[in-house]
Amino acid sequence: MSPARSMQAVVMGASAGGWAAFSRILTALPADYALPVAIVLHVHPGQGEDFPLHMAPGRRIPVRPAQDKDPFLPGVAHFAPPDYHLLIEWDKTLSLSADPKVCHSRPSIDVLFESAASVYGPGLLGVLLTGASSDGTNGIKRINELGGLTVVQDPDTAEHPTMPRSAVTHASPWRVLGLDAIAQLLLDLAPKPHPVFPDLESGATPPDRSRP
């Protein structure tokens, strides 16, 4: 069952085990995915910023290392660069910060989630995956508080269950699901490029939209 609402943006976070988890989810998204996607994956601070370009070679959705002040574009997965926090700016551009680590991490999932919640409110979908940390729990709480939707990977299916378990225990996510169900949800919650009128399928006359 897909819920009867569509979202404006997606933020996702993972730590240990995140490479494989994100690869699986990104592979499921189409080239013209209708939502902007921002991703924090905990990596070594000395890692080159182009690392996400090598993720999931078969994927169709383009990925891009986030640059300060770039627009937060639909149909692109923007990855936080190593050693910088990634935030969403009020004017829906990307923003980087060198502020102190949060939950021993920079980039931090909480920082991305909380900033995006402040911009999109009920229009935000937050997704928290595998990891051995407690980063993301506060972010999930904040998204819930401002009316957005939150999904956490079922800890029993996660390569490292600590991070999703922390969020499930302390942040009451909207759904707890396996990776494939999460990918399906990302598809269901995105606005459809061509709205389908239920009446069309039942043979009724579609509304006449040629008149002004």
Binding site: Q67, D68, K69, P81, Y84, H85, L87, I88, E89, W90, S95, L96, S97, A98, D99, P100, V111, E114, S115, A117, S118, V119, Y120, G121, P122, E145, L146, G147
Partner: protein
Amino acid sequence: MEQHELEQLEIDLFLEGVYRRYGYDFRNYARASLQRRMRGLMAATGHSSVIEMLPKVFSDRGFLIRVVDALSINVTEMFRDPPFFLALREKVVPYLKTYPFIKVWHAGCASGEEVYSLAILFKEEGIYDRTTFFATDFNAGTLEKAKAGIYPLDTMKKFAGNYLAGGGKAALSDYFHAEYDSVIVDGSLKKNVTFAMHNLATDGVFGEMHLILCRNVLIYFDAQLQCRAAGLFDDSLVHGGILALGSKETLRFTELADYYDMLDEKWRIYRKTGATYLAAHWGAPT
């Protein structure tokens, strides 16, 4: 109005209030990070909304200092990004060596770790004695810390690693005196460094510089304030002068890019080669 929109409105009002009451201008700071800092301040001072803090800051100068501290950018370390310091040694120092005297502006110096890193590098390259460093920040409190040059001993271990990776030629401990659990910067590093209050959002040019360092400050500004700051740097640099930004900062929003050569793309080190932007577009600055 949704709750998230309400908080944005409260922040706008708060910043306008602080500016008009006290002259501290945070109105063109990138809002995402600023909002995070405001929320941190709310939590630390027991307020449940941003708007609640407005009457407090209006009537209480002590609280203003808390606000200024919370909103200033004071993250810094010694030899952060060691390869950047290697690039300075290899690509910038040869230019600087051609000058009989050198003026350096370190904008947004916070508690001073980076300007002392620079001073060490200049010493090892043999150009410290003909250099004057201007290290500026708008936060009087952190500027005092920078002047004092006292740092916790336990951070020095990480800094020592950075220093060696950045091409250090001696031992970092040669430049500090340890006492109890702190270290203090040696006087010979401090003697050519002048610390001064300066706000990139509201103040102007104060001298002609051969090198300007401003790393990981512009990312906290919106595009308009970035242009203002970059314009100040441009007006301050001599022809052939060097501008070093943070590795995620560029001149691409400022229309200055055409007048600068990229000396090091990864570490965003620029050299001014063209006529100044202002002179080219508007005649001499008034």
